[in-house]
C-alpha cells in the first residue's frame, strides 16, 4: 500500500506497516516539548492524574525550553520559570534549558533544531501550536494542550487521527525579493485559515529544496495558520548536513511513495509570485505589497520562531544596510545562537548587528517577546492604534498586545523596506 511521508512516520510510531488517513492510532512519542506558559499547568495535571511519586515516562525525551515570558517583572510569569525549574529538578530532567544559565536557548521551535532534537522520521508533540515547525526536518511535529501533554508525560503515548495530506509544489528559482514567508502567505491567501484543518501540509518542488533549513522552517511553522495538523518537507542532503552538525543520534529518512493519495495538490512557479503581506486581522488576508504600498505603519518588528532566525536577519540586513529606519524597528533574535550570529555574521564588511544599530533598530535579547503580546512590560508590545509590519506568524485581533492595534505579516525583506519608508513597501524598491 502506498503512503505519504506523514502516514509512514505515524505508522512507524504506531508499530504498524500501514496506517490509513482518518483512523485514530496510538503513537509512541519520541520527544515531548514544553515551555513556561504551558509547562506548569501540564505538570499540575501530571501530578494530579498520576499521583504523588509518579515518574516521567522517559526523562531524556522531555525537552523544556522556557521562551515566552522571560524578560519581564511580572510576578506570575517569573513564578512559571521557577515551577519549570522545580519540576525538572524533582524528576532529574537533563533537557531543561533554564533561564539565567548558559543552557538558556530561546524560542523553542528554533532551539529544538539548533540543539539537535529534530531528527528525520521521528514524532514530536509540544504544548505549542507552532510545534509543526519541526516538520521541516522530515519528521512529524504537532501542537497539543496541557492535558494531552500530561498524558504523554506519564505514558509516552497519545492518540492521533492520521491526517489526509495536501501537497504544495513550488517550482523554479527563488528570486532575491522573495522569502519563504511570501510562499506560505501565498498559500494562506489561497486556502484560508481553515483550509488545511486536520490535514498534513506537504511541501515539495525545486524551489523548496533550494531553501536552507531556516527558510524551510518558516514554511512548516505556519502550517497551523491554515489549521494544518503538521507541515512537512522530506529530508534531503541539506537536512542531513544540518542535523549531523548538531547531533550523533541516528534517524531514518522517509518520503512519500509515488502514487500516494492527496486531498489536493497546489502548484506554483516562484518567478510568477510577488512579495505579499497578510493585512489585519487574519493570516489569510493576503495582498501584494504593491497593492497596499501607501499604507502607513507605526512600527516594524523582526523576530519570533518564524521570523527571528539568522537567515531572516541576513535578508533584513540586505535592505537596511546604509539606510535609516523611519519608524521604531524592533529586532528580536529567536535564540541565543541567532543573537550571537548577529555579531559574527558579516554582510558587506559589517556585522549584522552593526548594520541594524546604524540603521537605528532596537535589539532585544532572545525570547518570544511581543509576537503574542505578553505582560505589559514586554519588549516591542503594540500600543494603542499601532499598525505593525511584522515577520511573526499571527495577526488576529490583539495579537501583539493592544486590542486596538493591527499587524501586517510580511517577510523580513518587506518588514525592513517598510521600516525605512514608514509605509508598506515592496523590497524591490531597495534591491534594484
Amino acid at each position: 500500500m502506498v503512503q505519504t511521508i506523514t502516514q509512514k512516520i505515524l505508522a512507524k510510531a504506531a508499530n504498524r506497516k500501514f496506517v490509513e488517513a482518518g483512523e485514530n492510532v496510538w503513537l509512541n512519542v519520541d520527544i515531548l516539548l514544553t515551555h513556561d506558559v504551558c509547562g506548569p499547568p501540564t505538570f499540575d495535571i501530571f501530578r494530579e492524574k498520576f499521583g504523588p511519586g509518579a515518574k516521567v515516562w522517559d526523562p531524556e525525551k522531555v525537552v523544556i525550553l522556557p521562551d515566552h515570558y522571560i524578560f519581564t517583572e511580572n510576578e506570575h510569569a517569573r513564578r512559571n520559570i521557577d515551577l519549570l525549574r522545580q519540576f525538572a529538578e524533582e524528576h532529574d530532567l537533563p533537557n531543561h534549558h533554564d533561564v539565567g544559565t548558559d543552557r538558556y536557548k530561546g524560542v523553542c521551535h528554533v532551539a529544538l533544531a539548533q540543539e539537535g532534537y529534530n531528527l528525520p522520521g521521528t514524532v514530536l508533540f509540544g504544548t505549542d501550536s507552532h510545534t509543526c515547525t519541526s516538520g521541516a526536518f522530515g519528521m512529524f511535529g504537532t501542537g497539543i494542550g496541557n492535558t494531552d501533554a500530561a498524558f504523554i508525560l506519564g505514558t509516552g503515548k497519545i492518540w492521533e487521527k492520521v491526517p489526509e495530506s495536501m501537497k504544495f509544489i513550488f517550482e523554479g528559482e527563488m528570486p532575491d525579493y522573495l522569502a519563504a514567508k511570501d510562499l506560505i502567505l501565498q498559500i494562506l491567501g489561497d486556502i484560508g485559515t481553515d483550509g488545511a484543518t486536520y490535514r498534513a501540509m506537504e511541501f515539495d518542488g525545486s524551489a523548496v529544496y533550494s531553501l536552507p533549513m531556516e527558510e524551510r522552517m518558516t514554511l512548516t511553522n505556519m502550517a497551523i495558520e491554515a489549521g494544518g495538523m503538521n507541515g512537512i518537507i522530506a529530508a534531503d542532503s541539506v537536512t542531513e548536513a544540518y542535523v549531523k552538525e548538531r547531533t550523533e543520534k541516528t534517524y531514518e529518512i522517509l518520503e512519500s511513495d509515488p502514487g500516494a493519495e492527496y486531498h489536493s495538490t497546489y502548484r506554483y512557479k516562484v518567478e510568477a509570485l510577488e512579495p505579499v503581506v497578510a493585512m489585519p486581522h487574519s493570516p489569510d488576508n493576503r495582498a501584494t505589497v504593491r497593492s497596499v504600498q501607501d499604507t502607513r505603519i507605526t512600527k516594524s518588528y523582526i523576530g519570533s520562531c518564524t521570523g527571528g532566525k539568522l537567515s531572516d536577519f541576513v535578508m533584513a540586513a540586505r535592505i537596511l544596510k546604509g539606510n535609516k529606519v523611519s519608524v521604531p524597528t524592533n529586532i528580536v533574535p529567536a535564540t541565543v545562537e541567532a543573537a550571537q550570529s548577529l555579531e559574527t555574521e558579516q554582510f558587506d564588511g559589517h556585522s549584522i548587528r552593526k548594520i541594524f544599530e546604524d540603521a537605528g533598530c532596537a535589539i532585544a535579547p532572545p525570547s518570544c517577546a511581543a509576537c503574542l503580546g505578553g505582560p505589559s512590560d514586554t519588549f516591542g508590545r503594540s500600543e494603542n492604534n499601532d499598525l505593525v509590519v511584522s515577520t511573526t506568524n499571527r495577526n488576529f485581533p490583539g495579537r501583539m498586545g493592544s486590542k486596538k492595534a493591527g499587524v501586517c505579516l510580511a517577510s523580513p525583506l518587506t518588514a525592513a523596506a517598510s521600516a525605512i519608508t514608514g509605509k508598506l513597501t515592496d523590497p524591490r524598491e531597495f534591491l534594484s
Binding site: 496510538w26 506558559v37 499540575d44 497539543i144 494542550g145 492535558t147 498524558f151 481553515d194 503574542l372 499571527r394
Partner: protein, 187 residues
Amino acid sequence: MESIIQGKAYVLGKNIDTDQIIPAEHLVYSLSDPEEVKLYGKYALSGVPAAEAGLPEGNRPFVEEGKFESEYSIIIAGPNFGCGSSREHAPFSLQVAGARAIVAESYARIFYRNCVDGGFVIPYETAEQLSKTVLTGDELRIDIENSSVTNLTQNVTYTLKPLGDVYKIVMAGGIFAYARQENLMNS
C-alpha cells in the same frame, strides 16, 4: 455526565482564535489555585472586538465588567472556532466562566482536542449556520443522546453532528478518565 444542557446562548462569528478567547497576557495565572482560577472566568472571551461580542447587536461582553462568571452557558459560533495557539487555557477559561457546550460550524484541531481530552466543554459541530439565526440571550436546550439543539425562544430544533469517536471520552469526562475506564494507562 447529564443528558441535557440548557441555558442562554452567546453568539459569535467565524475564526474566533484563542487570543480572543483568552488574551496571552492572562496566561500567567495558575490553573490550579482556586482564587487565581477565577481570573480565567473574568477574562474569558475578553479579546473579542466589542462590535462582534454577542451577536447580532454586539457590545455584549460574555462576562460583565467586575464579574467572574457569565450568564451564558452555550456558545454559538461560525466556522474554525478556536484557531491559533494551543493554549488549553482557552477551553478552561470558557468552562470557568460557566460555559457547558459550544455549537460551531467547525473547530481548529488543537482546541477541539483540548475541549474533549480535558473535559472542559462539549464541542458540537453542526451543518446549520446557527450564528445567523440564534440571537444572544435565546434559551437553548441541547439533547446529548439525540444530538440535537432546540432554540426554546424561537421554538425550532436543529440537528448536531454526532460526536463519533470522541463520544466516549466526552461521556467519561476527559482522556484520563476514559483511559482508566478502557485500561489504556497500564501498558
